[in-house]
Amino acid sequence: MSKKLNILVVDDDAANADSLAELFELDNHRVIVAYDGQQAVEAFSMNKVDVGFFDVMMPNKNGVESFMEIKAMNPDARVYFMTGFSADDLLDMAIKGGAMGVFSKPVDLVRLLKTVEREAA
């Protein structure tokens, strides 16, 4: 039996964020939802987060910027990105900064759940 994770889902598209949260909750994970980059940084600093799934393009602070801030605070942070189109420069920066991987939207849910399973193992 895999362990239950604290998962941070970050997406300015609430329908996306909320439906993903519901999906993870169905597998009994604890999910925190943030709707922009700033909220993501705050959520990470206030909670114990095992893994994060971040949208890239968001208002206020984009996903990669907030990831870099989080990485600076917590070098062990594990974050995957989800993107609607390839913002190559940003994603290159994220991968170099230690991101775990990239999902293209609409996210392949089978692959996503396998990733969560691996994280929980």
Binding site: N16, D18, S19, G84, K105, P106, L109
Partner: protein, 505 residues
Amino acid sequence: MADRLTDSKVLLSILDNLPTSIFVKDEDLKFVYSNALHCHMIGKSEAELLGKCDFDFYPDADAAGFATHDTDVIDRGEESISEEMARREDGMCMPVLTRKARLAGPDGKVYLIGTNSDLTDIRKRENQYKALSETVPVAVAQIDESLEISFANPLFNAYCGGDGSEMDHSRLITKLQEVNPGFPGQPCKFEAVVQGLGNQPRTVIVVSSGWLELGDTIRSATVSLIDISQMSELQRINEEVSRLNRELAANMRKLSDAQDELIKKGRMEQLGQLTATVAHELRNPLGAVRTSAFLLERKLKGKGLGVEAQIERINKGIVRCDNIITQLLDFSRSKQLHCQPGDLDEWLTSIVEEEAKKLPAIVEVELLLGLSGQTFPFDPARMQRAVINMISNAVEAMVGTPDQPAAKPTAIPKLMISTFVKQGHVSVRVVDNGPGIPPDVLKRIREPLFTTKSFGTGLGVPAIEQIAVQHGGRLDIRSEVGAGSVFTMWLPTEAKQAAAETRAA
């Protein structure tokens, strides 16, 4: 007639009607005979003339000259020919050619017989010729067989570069003979460069009549030189203007092309930005729909509600939307290529194997590799899109898609993918034996958004072409209705995409 000539009246009458003035003087140089024309020339009747001498009719200076001349002829018996000005008392004056000879009279005395020919008309004509030869813009000369110049107008002398002395003449003749050895004896016309006034080189057309019999013992040729330097200059200016015109036209064309490119690039950039925004905006809700459908499926599983088909339909719709977005992004993306030299055959094998798994089993796939491990620069991500587009177009033409099978599927669908090098280009070719493309469709197949498929975006072929052009190559499409289609991407063997970037971007 012979009888009549013995009649002195008849003889005198003949002499009076000759167009030559005739006079006879005795040893004392007094007139003893004058025919009618001579009387007319001097302006006196014969009666007034006879027994008088030149001093009675001409100014003293003239008369003294005539007298010396006359004495010489009578004393020495030598015929004399001279040109003289005959001035009458009334002031009339005319040039005459005077011939004088000693005549032994039947009376044993010595006489002088003289004739005067009026040179007025000849002089007049000579003056006309002289004025003409001095004013025409043509150099004229008469050259005889010994290559001496018997006549040259001032312009001809100018071409000789001097005052018209013989040495200068011969230099010009030698020069012209170097250009045309037949000059001046053979009739000819040729172009030459000679020194004009101030040693300026002038281009002239030289025309020679060739040797002509002009009544002299020695033959001569009439030669003219026509200056065409100005014409050459005009021609040069004309050619220069034509060249500039051609250059201008070419530049205008380039400018117009550049403008078209800018407009196209501007449009593509707009389209690229719009597509990026739309893609992002569509994929977010698509993600939410997919996740929600997934949640529904999980939550309803085993409840016997029979909604599996509906959920499947939602998922297929999501995949189709996503594919359309991917194609739009692919086509409108103006980003730089990421080319790297690679084994195109090896790479293609893996792509085709991957794609072949997704194709209906009935489609036979043949891969003919002809690059023998050579490496070529290409962007794998972009090339993959192009190859997949070519393969899916071919397969859709032959059998359709699982959702929309072809109305008349090809009985034994066969897909042949090949690579080869030809004329400095590496080619990736996809051949199918489908129904072929009708000519009216073939004409428009490269237009973005043109499609004949109910599920198409009209961006598949434009994207293939765009990718070929971005690589510095091109796309060839051949098709025969009822036989199939051939799509060939021609790519340069060397990296050329940098130059093509601005065109294709």
